[in-house]
């Protein structure tokens, strides 16, 4: 598709494209490069951060961000995979985008991900909760 051609060329080896179809692009990024990719998407391409999804899979814990380009209707979704399931951690994008604060706090409390550099890492929904939910969205086998 011609839409994502320029973006993929610019990013080069930092991203690994997984799914590319009409208006949706999913690609994998390493933890070291995530801040640079997000900076390009938010500041240069003026995309809006919609939300972020965390999932637990066989390979590890993934954090999938969703950026929306409102002028074209395209979605860019960088994915960071954390292989260490006991102590997953990755860089936080909140210092760059103020709106990511609540999104990352929610991921931290339900999956136990540690976001390095987050200004206010306190629980969002289970603050002052009478019982300890203990990361309820993680798989229990």
């Amino acid at each position: 598709m011609a839409d994502y051609h320029e973006f993929i060329e610019k990013m080069g080896s930092k991203i690994k494209v997984e799914i590319r179809k009409k208006r949706r692009l999913y690609f994998q990024v390493k933890n070291e490069d995530i801040l640079e990719v997000v900076d390009y998407l938010f500041n240069k391409m003026e995309c809006r951060l919609s939300t972020a999804t965390a999932t637990e899979t066989y390979h590890g814990i993934e954090a999938l961000y969703h950026f929306s380009d409102d002028n074209t209707g395209n979605y860019y979704c960088p994915r960071v995979v954390m292989k260490d399931k006991e102590n997953p951690e990755m860089n936080s994008i909140t210092p760059m985008i103020q709106g990511a604060e609540w999104i990352e706090r929610e991921m931290a409390e339900w999956w136990g991900i540690k976001f390095i550099g987050h200004p206010r890492p306190i629980p969002l929904l289970s603050r002052n909760h009478p019982e300890d939910l203990n990361k309820p969205m993680r798989c229990r086998r």
């Binding site: 799914i19 949706r24 919609s50 939300t51 409102d70 074209t72």
Partner: protein, 402 residues
């Protein structure tokens, strides 16, 4: 430690600033406003009182069962979530839907926008002391709910959406009656638009209050009328026109000041545009014949994103499937999740009598927020202040001294 001890003392110090008509709860701190004299300095929020774990439950239900589950996330935007969810599933499987179903989906979505904006107009009127506006706006909301009953059988929670189309057809014999109800609505909306334009007390209470600048709206990633009132363009109906949005004619409303008055204007004008869209859909439904449902047997494995422009902004659903009839992962993000943190920017420096209308300006979907506000000053001492009474008293003062 200090915060914990404050928690113990909250028993009789919280305020219920908003009247009894809110899904409110006493005895819990949701917003913590810090004031310095008469000015609000900071705001903090404690949420989670409505958290029911939809994402967890959705992994155990099949797709069609999830549609009923997702409807009950919010009662006011009760069609936006199922629409976004079926868009996501159709995105995974690249499924086409019939033309008649597209018009019916758009019709139901736009009717919901009308009823939700009228609800907000009523609440805003109540907060600033215009109870008549509240009663009028909710009275003219009733015909819209009657239209829903004719189309789907229930006033709220319609259960209309399915993967591949809609669940029920619109009976052609009922279309003249629906058109008649729309005609009465147009007259009333024009009356409300005139009130917003002419009334001096409304203008002096709302203009310049709770301003959210364009830069803040972009930084906090706000969506919907909250960001459109600050000059940031972005409307899912124009950016990604699926269903019938590329077949009907309407305008996107953007203003530039970012105060509560602009949010009011944006919502009233959007309602008038929605009535235009509904009329076009009803005219097309008279002529088009065909199926309203495409029976989809299975959805392939993959990932999909679906979104829809709810009355409050963009609703976002992400699903991940593995070829069976259940989702592996279902992520829901309601628009209020992005809009409510903008309080931190728009509440700074406003007098406390305007705090309530500023918080209401964002139109928080109450399933994500409740409204018991605790007020404390710089030294963290609690003060007993009734925000609703303050707000209504300010209006009385302005009227007497105008």
């Amino acid at each position: 430690m200090k915060i914990k001890s404050n928690l113990k003392e909250i028993s009789n110090k919280n305020q219920i600033p908003v009247g009894p008509f809110h899904p409110l709860l006493e005895e819990a701190e949701y917003f913590n406003l810090t004031v310095d004299g008469e000015t609000v300095v900071d705001i903090d929020m404690d949420t989670g009182w409505m958290h029911r774990g939809h994402e967890f439950i959705s992994e155990q239900k099949s797709f069609t069962q999830s549609i009923y589950l997702v409807e009950r996330i919010c009662g006011i935007c009760s069609t936006s979530h199922p629409l976004a969810f079926v868009h996501a599933l159709e995105d995974v499987g690249n499924i086409e839907i019939p033309l008649r179903a597209r018009y019916i989906r758009t019709l139901v979505g736009e009717l919901e926008r009308i009823h939700s904006h009228l609800l907000w107009v009523g609440l805003a009127g109540h907060f600033i002391g215009y109870d008549t506006v509240w009663m009028w706006a909710w009275k003219y909301r009733e015909p819209v709910l009657q239209m829903f009953e004719i189309i789907s059988g229930n006033r709220n929670h319609y259960g209309m959406m399915r993967v591949g189309g809609v669940g029920k057809d619109v009976d052609p014999a009922s279309i003249p009656e629906l058109n008649k109800i729309l005609d009465t609505l147009v007259k009333k909306m024009n009356m409300i638009a005139k009130i917003v334009n002419d009334d001096p007390v409304l203008r002096s209470r709302l203009i310049g209050v709770g301003v959210l600048t364009k830069k803040d709206a972009i930084d906090y990633c706000a969506v919907g009328p909250t960001s459109r009132a600050s000059g940031v363009r972005g409307d899912v109906r124009k950016d990604e026109p699926i269903d019938a949005y590329d077949l009907v004619d309407f305008d996107e409303i953007i203003t530039k000041n970012g105060d509560v008055y602009d949010k009011f204007v944006v919502r009233v004008l959007e309602t008038i545009e929605s009535i235009k869209i509904c009329r076009q859909c009803l005219n097309k439904l008279k002529e088009i014949k065909g199926p309203f449902f495409n029976n989809v047997k299975e959805i392939s494995a993959g990932e999909g994103i679906g979104r829809y422009e709810a009355p409050r902004g963009e609703v976002f659903h992400y699903v991940r499937t593995d070829g069976t009839n259940r989702v592996v992962r279902h992520k829901v993000r309601a628009p209020s999740f992005n809009n409510i943190p903008t309080f931190q920017a728009s509440c700074k420096g406003i007098p406390i009598a305007d705090a309530l209308i500023t918080l209401a300006g964002v139109d928080p979907c109450y399933c994500c927020t409740e409204r018991a506000i605790r007020v404390s000053d710089k030294h963290n001492k609690n003060k007993k202040i009734d925000l609703l009474k303050l707000s209504r008293d300010k209006t009385l003062y302005i009227r007497r001294n105008a």
